[in-house]
Symmetry: C2
Subunit: 262 residues, 2 copies
């Protein structure tokens, strides 16, 4: 199906196969290898690392061109990566790129993000994987500025595979004149929920999730939120091993183990 | 709504409010405080840290007793925690417990798990949170053995709050005569997908996710998989900051930053 002499590039996202962001990403990576797109047939924002276990999945090929094949799936971003690896591709991809997401996936938003979930699934399967996001929720957003900075990151990872168990979470502010990229850490923070409340036509009260992000460490210059606010693209290495190794000894000294030996 | 003198205990899960596991968990924690259950109205296995952004949510109170209130939500486990904190409880809970899940959430399964997602959401909001799981998918499983070992862990955390940004992922083998609990780390591994393939009534080929877990480090005695295989409950401290801090300097030395300064 694909020419083994060129890199095999798996592309996915969470906004769905027809979103502007994934099309910009396809254009960005297409010169560098054979591109296979496996993406949800509709928007799956906020799907995190979710998988579909209760319903069957369908694979529909919607485009076949020289060096570009596009499939859509009625599942989550992580489902797309699993189906790509197991049922669509005839060999493991050299790189997996997810996005470009319409909206931020910085700080704790990485936990809610289907874009990041798909990249994490790539990493769990041993593929160098990158999640790309632009800080604009506009479906007609202009991706040209961020692509200028994303491209060297993509090329760097294509040339030098990421260490095992590490993915990159890359976000760009929606501005012209980006200053470059900065490697940094997730800022500590959380979403403060507001929940819009209304009545439905049957007079039942409903709640609709909304809110704003609260940054707990505004002045920390080594965080993604800080560099984004200062005109840089943020590059955060994330781990698939999310054990807090530092606290294992602390908890061992605690009472959990000894109190319950039979 | 609740007596402020007793601990306030938030209970949730991903198997739905009517599952056996959550009812065993409610019985386990009820003597220790006022219990508010906010759980999905149906099974949400594999929902990870997903949130519902495209549809409205409804809160239905289904039980009100002395010291026990139960609500069901048409959303994900993480939605339940968000609605509990923002719309149901009149103060922050002292502890959040999620489960008892019907099935393992050890190793990388923590990424797919809605049970763990709910506990992580509690931790992001500053609540000491624990995910409990039993290694049996049987809806009629007997939770009495695991509860004996889970209870001292729950009591320990209720007495000594967890450090900021840390949740506990606790799994029990489905055996009688558990040897106790062991603090350990996530084993490295992945799910090997098999995807059942059939034709639907309209002769369209479909794929249904299944598979088995592959442990990459069978002999590592400090991992959750190892202790579970040896008759112990595994207690893994997980982080909400999933940055790989160790590799930040490595990536800084790389080419991402310098190649793209405008």
């Amino acid at each position: 199906m694909v020419d083994n002499k060129r890199p095999l590039i798996l592309v996915t996202n969470d906004d769905g196969v027809h979103a502007g962001g994934i099309n910009s990403l396809i254009e960005m990576v297409r010169p560098y290898g054979d591109v296979v797109v496996v993406a949800p047939n509709q928007s799956h924002s906020g799907m995190s690392h979710a998988i579909t276990v209760k319903t069957p999945l369908y694979i529909n090929k919607i485009k076949e061109e020289d060096g570009l094949n596009i499939y859509k799936i009625n599942g989550t971003p992580v489902d797309c990566v699993k189906l790509a690896i197991n049922k669509i591709l005839d060999r493991m991809p050299d790189i997996c790129v997810s996005g470009i997401n319409h909206g931020s996936n910085s700080s704790v938003s990485a936990h809610y993000s289907g874009t990041v979930g798909a990249a994490r699934e790539g990493t769990i399967n041993g593929i160098s994987s990158i999640a790309f996001s632009l800080l604009s929720y506009d479906s007609g957003a202009d991706f040209s500025s961020c692509v200028e900075v994303f491209l060297p990151i993509f090329k760097g990872v294509l040339e030098h595979a990421l260490p095992e168990g590490i993915l990159l979470n890359v976000n760009a502010p929606y501005i012209k004149g980006l200053k470059g990229a900065r490697v940094c850490r997730m800022a500590r923070g959380k979403w403060v929920e507001e929940f819009i409340e209304h009545e439905d036509p049957r007079h039942r009260k409903y709640f609709w999730l909304t809110g704003h992000f609260e940054n707990f460490e505004l002045d920390a210059s080594d965080t993604d939120e800080y560099v984004l606010n200062n005109g840089y693209v943020s590059v955060v290495p994330l781990k698939t091993d999310v054990t807090d190794h530092d606290s294992i000894e602390l908890f061992k000294a605690f009472n959990y183990e000894t109190s319950i030996i039979h």
